[in-house]
Structure formats: structure tokens, C-alpha cells
């Protein structure tokens, strides 16, 4: 079946612009995660959605970052006033449920370059 999809695959933006990154999780998966992969910091957790519960935003690096999940499915990660240090690959993952035993399935990522 279809896996996690992300769009765009690549995004180049100028410093100071806003960007939106999209994630389509696997159908039926209630949990959705955003991670960031950068050369300096490795793979970092950003935000986690589980069903209708309030999201866990503890990994967001600044208030320029926000995310929403509409209808328990598609998610959008928004970065406002982008900075060069925001350049990274943004990975989305989904799982059937919450709890560490559920496998997370990762999308191919969106490579963001801030010039």
C-alpha cells in the first residue's frame, strides 16, 4: 500500500520567507511525527500528534515553527521568517498508535535550503 508521502521533495527559499511542508501519513495511522535531519544536529524530534489530543510541541526549536494536522490526517509544518540554520531535511513519520512499540514509518523527506 501507499507509504508516507511528503511534498515538496525539495524547497529552496530566501532567508526571511515563510515555507510550508506537507505530510500525508499512511491511511489509518493515528500518530504523526515530524523530525529534522541536519548535518550539525543529526536527527531531532520536532512535534508529535496523536489522534485528537493536544500535540507535543516540545521539540520545536523556536516559535517560528508551527504545525497542524487537519482531520486527523494530513499535516503541515510551517516555518516563518526562515533562517539559514533552518536548512535541513524534514522527515515525517506515522504509526498505527502511540506508545513506543508501534513502528514508525518514515516518508522520503523534504530537503529545505535557505539561501
Amino acid at each position: 500500500g501507499a507509504g508516507v508521502s511528503q511534498s515538496p521533495s525539495n524547497k529552496v527559499t530566501e532567508k526571511g520567507k515563510d515555507v510550508e511542508l506537507r505530510c500525508d501519513p499512511i491511511s489509518g495511522h493515528t500518530a504523526l511525527y515530524w523530525y529534522r535531519q541536519s548535518l550539525g544536529q543529526g536527527l531531532e524530534f520536532l512535534i508529535y500528534f496523536q489522534g485528537n489530543s493536544a500535540p507535543d510541541k516540545s521539540g520545536l526549536p523556536s516559535d517560528r515553527f508551527s504545525a497542524e494536522r487537519t482531520g486527523g490526517s494530513v499535516s503541515t509544518l510551517t516555518i516563518q521568517r526562515t533562517q539559514q540554520e533552518d536548512s535541513a531535511v524534514y522527515l515525517c513519520a506515522s504509526s498505527l498508535g502511540s506508545g513506543g512499540a508501534y513502528e514508525q514509518y518514515f516518508g522520503p523527506g523534504t530537503r529545505l535550503t535557505v539561501t
Binding site: 543529526g42 502511540s98 506508545g99
Partner: protein, 113 residues
């Protein structure tokens, strides 16, 4: 909070040789342990996971890992590697009750003929 240490950033090895990728973790609560692989320009794929039970876990592509609680380690091994195993390997942990993953910095496995 948890942390994961992958001591080797790169491991070069010849084809058909055995390999071990090291992973140590730190946590004040019970955790689950995972190894993910990332092939060039692709997303992360789960290799194997330890949840409970037997400490020796077998995964895909002939990989296995052993959970050692006393040494807080979860090293990944393969008895004979192939060129196609060239990839970056990430060790990760999650709390039993909470599913966000904490990753190590990754180990690049470079298999040459």
C-alpha cells in the same frame, strides 16, 4: 530524558567481512530500542527493534542486534556484508509509554569490494 551514543561516525569494511556497529544509550526509564537504515537519498527504514523477551533480535537483510541491559548497549551485527549494505545506520530509543524517538548521530557503513 534519553540519549544515544554511536561512537563510530564511519565504519569502512570489505565485502563479505563481518561488521559491528556500536550503540550505547542512557535512560532513567524503561526503553525500547531500534536500528534504522537510511540508503542514499531515501527515507529511514526499520531494520529491527527490541521491545522485550529474547535479548538477541533478528532483523531484515541478515542483521541482528543484542540488547545488553547491564552495559546499556544495543550493538548491530552482520556476519557478512554486501556492497548494497552501504548506508547510514541510526540507533534510536523511545520510552515504553511514549513513542517519540531519540536518535544517535548515525554510523556510515562503507562497504568496498
Amino acid at each position: 530524558a534519553q540519549s544515544v551514543t554511536q561512537l563510530d561516525s564511519q565504519v569502512p569494511v570489505f565485502e563479505e567481512a563481518p561488521v559491528e556497529l556500536r550503540c550505547n544509550y542512557s535512560s532513567s526509564v524503561s526503553v525500547y530500542l531500534f536500528w534504522y537504515v537510511q540508503y542514499p537519498n531515501q527515507g529511514l527504514q526499520l531494520l529491527l527493534k527490541y521491545l522485550s523477551g529474547s535479548t538477541l533480535v533478528k532483523g531484515i537483510n541478515g542483521f541482528e542486534a543484542e540488547f545488553n541491559k547491564s552495559q546499556t548497549s544495543f550493538h548491530l551485527r552482520k556476519p557478512s556484508v554486501h556492497i548494497s549494505d552501504t548506508a547510514e545506520y541510526f540507533c534510536a530509543v523511545s520510552e515504553v509509554r511514549y513513542s517519540t524517538l531519540t536518535f544517535g548521530k548515525g554510523t556510515m557503513l562503507l562497504v568496498s569490494p
